[in-house]
Amino acid sequence: MIEMRYEAPRTLKAALALLAAANGRAKVFAGGTDLLIQMRSGRVEPELLVDVKGIPEMRSIAEDKGGFRFGAAVTGMELVEHEGLAGMWPGVIDAVKLIGSIQVKGRASVGGNVCNASPAADSVPALVAARAVARIIGPNGKREVPVEEISAGPGRTSLGHGEMVVSFLLPRRPKRSADAYLRFTPRTEMDIAVVGAGVNLTLNAKGVCTRARVSLGAVAERVLLVPEAAAELIGRRVEAQALERLAAAASAACRPIDDKRGTKEFRIKVAGVMARRAAEIAVKRAKGEV
């Protein structure tokens, strides 16, 4: 029985040193809302927990280049309560609001949500649609990676040995832009997404869509960026016909599984419905109607 150790470094450098020394047998410990459950079930048995919640860069929220940079260990509730960030990226906040309960959001972090690499993670489709970029540090220095490239499949990330995500950058928003995230769950709260859809778009002065990104969660082994769906909006008014074609393209892009949370056919059908509804909300927000 190997005794598990706990360390709480105060700097990034110290955290990296601990991870390197543990040679793959350590876990980064932020909110712990996935990690503790996996430890309890025996799915993971780390020898060392590296608690990063005391490292300033991982806990701060600040404006950066006209957008917002927030630490990977910032809690869901802190993000929800940040007026500036919530005002600029309401879709990302829609998504974060849906992670677990208020209790879970009091601890859970977007860093954990992304790196746990569940295909159904709620924050990921919204971040992907938003063009969020993760800052990663490791033994070989710093690199910036679009969020959609972090998951390598269920439970696996593209992070190298000894690397960890420090923060996320949500870019500056052009005028008349807005995002929205919707998911389908059987209960009103507390469920894992059966399907999640994030839509981020920009309209010109005439109300025509000039940029769009559509991202789907829980319908494949990773969160999907669906350019074909976005293409149905770009250059058009976001009205009934475009929305129907968006929905169809979203459904077509899915490659879901049957599992205890939903069947294949249900996910395919509902992905289109959620994408359409999320786009409708995003358009209303972009026009300043909500």
Binding site: F184, P186, R187, T188, I192, R261
Partner: protein, 766 residues
């Protein structure tokens, strides 16, 4: 010999009001002690090793490495428990067989479900105990398994028990089978009945197992001392029944076991069965230290009884003006790994709400590789009623008759002969139908994709063995010792209220306490909605016994004949026409001087309460359906139920609201999900989806009171009826909303969406 105490109508001072519950302050401050909150000096932590297979023969168990782990003080397996022969006993509303009880608590020849206990350890800490489990080597011969009830009834299905031959079939079958029992309830002639019908509807329904979902996992702490005495503190609905079962499976004298029922964190029928208690006692016996065992939520789901999943076939015939002429049903219930589901009760209440001449219900109890089922609030009734009330709704729709009106045309009433035996005395079914019809919610406007459904429920309610003692304390307060566990409905308060009413003193002068098994005579389990009925009857009789003694005391002190003393408003006073005048004595005065005037005064009663009153309810469900996703939202929910007498109206409402929301969960999202390997995939509250606060609206409760003539205050019992109707009410509402009938529960969004698309494909208007 049984006891009935007749109802008397009289003006009431305490009964019917809403005082605070006596256990309330402890519960809102965190002081209330549930089983897991108990600790004993020197205690060890016990953990259970469970089967990972749905069906397998156990070839060998090697515990040597676990026993050698430092910190492990005892390990038990099947070798530590005696084998039991077939022997039946009542436990709550289901019957148990001791041969099965001992095998369910610790597997012997085979494991029969994912989660079946195979061994248990006691160690200095939870982490050591868990590590020890990992060191136990069990050799299994994995066998094919079957979890579907219809599949399990087929002749070539994997067989759970080689000794099980279908009971209730003649001639006795030659081959063993998973069909443990077949039963038939019948009256009149189905053929005649169907001949008279203008409309015949025949449908098939399927439901999934659901768990009682109590938030407190099972927990117990046991000590066994070298003089052969065992003490157990455990969360149970029936500490006397537990004592009897423990004595049996451990081959100990009943008098050597003392069971204390700790404050219960929810039961709903699921805490009528022993699970870890015998293991904890055996571990304590082996280790010579107390052993505490607390289940994880995962263990609760994998190994404690859910209710049955079932396949139900219903065929009804009626005249064109809605008079039912024939009613036929087949109920195929999963019993889990061992026989004994609630199919008998389901059979008896399937059609009982209606006055029928030609009825047949066939019930099948079927073993499958799932955990042994336990009772769940009106066991079996919601399942059977889902089918029957759906067909009745279809009938009403096809005949163009209002659904409540159709039921009124067939409703059971006083004098109706049931098809399972008794004739009804005064009952309130028709009153609930009328009150529902007249309710403003029945006429609330419905928007697009919204619909309304009606369904009704019936439960027998029971009485049975109960005892109680009432002590008049020196300061004029009273302590009531009850043996019926307060499973949280507030029966403690209701008992205290009835006693206060009888004695003529204030409610807050009566302190109700639940005694452990050494304090009282046998008390049956709190189940069957009997707590307030039977417990109340016993409490009232104990109070009347005490009053009788106080009258005698007054007569002696004041030197007047006994007939001259009446008891009124908390004092012994001259009886009208009694022939003697004297200065009255209050209860306080009698109590203060009791020691000097003949000793302390106590009353007691031991009864087998009879005369429980059947309860009926009518539910109105309004839903809204999202046609694009299949999501069902409950917009309004109204319950109208006859409770005989609401001793404490807020607690009666609490039973309505709680039972209805459990029914809503059963209808919408709760189900056990198994993989092809027979392993349970959703043993947790994340994917076993009970309703959360935002899933349900406020529930409208209407209390109807048609007094039960066989109870001093007219009580019928009310806890079970509320869960019976929701599945059918909601599915009838969905039909009304979007023209799609769902015959599979739960009505989760994928099923609803599929049904919507199938109906659209078939050209039906959607």
């Amino acid at each position: 010999m049984s006891t009935t105490v007749m109802y008397e109508e009289k003006p009431l001072k305490v009964v019917g009001t809403r005082p605070l519950r006596p256990d309330g302050v402890d519960k809102v401050t965190g002081r209330a002690r549930y089983a897991a909150d108990y600790n004993l000096p020197g205690q060890l932590i016990g953990k259970v090793l469970r089967s990972p297979h749905a069906h397998a023969r156990i070839k060998s168990i090697d515990t040597s490495r676990a026993e050698a782990l430092p910190g492990v003080k005892a390990v038990v397996t099947r070798d530590d428990f005696p084998d039991m022969q077939t022997e039946y006993a009542a436990a709550g509303e289901l019957t148990i067989n001791f041969r099965d009880v001992t095998r369910n608590m610790m597997a012997r020849e085979k494991v029969l479900y994912d989660g079946h206990p195979v061994a248990a350890v006691a160690a200095l800490s939870a982490s050591i105990a868990r590590a020890a489990l990992g060191l136990i080597k069990v050799e299994y011969e994995v066998l094919p398994h079957v979890i579907d009830v219809v599949e399990a009834m087929k002749p070539d299905a994997p067989l759970l028990h080689e000794h099980q031959f279908t009971d209730g079939v003649t001639p006795k079958p030659e081959r063993p089978s998973n069909l443990a029992k077949r039963m038939v309830f019948a009256r009149g002639s189905l053929d005649e009945g169907f001949k008279q019908a203008d409309l015949i509807i025949e449908r098939e329904f399927n439901t999934k197992p659901v768990h009682q979902g109590y938030i407190e996992p099972q927990a117990c702490i046991a000590t066994y001392t070298e003089d052969g005495q065992a003490e157990v503190w455990t969360g149970t609905q029936g500490h006397f029944v537990f004592r009897a079962q423990l004595a049996k499976v451990l081959e100990m004298d009943v008098s050597k076991i003392r069971v204390t029922a700790t404050e219960l964190g929810g039961g709903f029928g699921g805490k009528n069965n022993i699970y870890n208690e015998p293991l904890a006692i055996a571990l304590s016996r082996k280790s010579h230290r107390p052993v505490k065992m607390v289940m994880t939520r995962e263990e609760v789901f994998r190994a404690t009884g859910p209710t049955s999943g079932a396949n139900v076939k219903v065929k009804l015939g009626c005249t064109r003006d809605g008079r039912i002429t024939a009613a036929d049903a087949e109920l195929n219930f999963q019993a889990g790994a061992f026989a004994g589901s609630s199919v008998a009760m389901a059979s008896m209440c399937a059609f009982t709400r209606y006055d029928l001449e030609n009825v047949r219900v066939v019930g099948h109890d079927v073993t499958v590789n799932r955990p042994k089922v336990a009772a769940y609030r009106a066991p079996g009734a919601p399942i059977a009623v889902f089918g029957v009330e759906s067909v009745i709704d279809e009938m009403a729709e096809k005949l163009g008759i209002d659904p409540i009106e159709l039921r009124l045309r067939n409703a059971a009433k006083e004098g109706t002969q049931t098809y399972y035996g008794p004739k009804f005395g005064p009952i309130g079914f028709i009153e609930t139908l009328h009150r529902a019809k007249a309710h403003p919610k029945y006429r609330a406007p419905l928007g697009p994709n919204q619909g309304r459904g009606i369904a009704t429920g019936f439960w027998f309610n029971i009485g049975k063995e109960t005892s109680s003692a009432l002590h008049i304390n020196e300061d004029g307060t009273a302590t009531l010792i009850m043996g019926t566990v307060d499973v949280a409905g507030g029966s403690r308060a209701a008992m205290a209220m009835m006693v206060a009413e009888e004695l003529g003193i204030a409610y807050d002068k009566v302190r109700p306490v639940i005694g452990d098994t050494s304090a009282l005579g046998f008390n049956f389990i709190t189940a069957g909605s009997r707590g307030t009925f039977a417990g109340g009857m016993a409490a009232v009789l104990a109070a009347r016994d005490a009053i009788e003694k106080m009258r005698r005391r007054v007569a002696r002190i004041r030197e007047v004949p006994l007939e001259a003393v009446a008891w009124k408003d908390g004092r012994g006073q001259p009886a009208e026409g009694g022939g003697a005048q004297f200065k009255p004595m209050t209860l306080q005065e009698i109590a203060r001087d009791a020691g000097k005037t003949g000793g302390t005064i106590s009353g007691h009663s031991e009864i087998n309460a009879e005369g429980a009153g059947p309860g009926f309810g009518t539910h109105i469900a309004d839903v809204e359906v999202d046609r694009q996703t299949g999501l069902i939202k409950i917009v309004r929910y109204t319950i109208v139920q006859d409770v005989g007498k609401a001793i404490h109206p807020a607690y009666v409402e609490g039973q309505f609201e709680g039972g209805a929301v459990q029914g809503i969960g059963w209808a919408l999202n709760e189900e056990y999900v198994y993989g092809a390997d027979g392993v349970l995939q959703n043993p947790g509250f994340l994917d076993y989806r009970v309703p959360v606060a935002s899933d349900v609206p406020f529930i409208d409760s209407v209390i109807v009171e048609v007094p039960n003539p066989n109870h001093p205050y007219g009580v019928r019992g009310c806890g079970e009826v509320p869960i019976i109707a929701p599945m059918a009410a909601i599915s009838n509402a969905v039909q009304n909303a979007i023209g799609v009938r769902l015959r599979e529960q739960p009505m989760s969004p994928p099923r609803v969406l599929k049904a919507i698309e199938a109906a659209a494909g078939a050209g039906a208007q959607v």
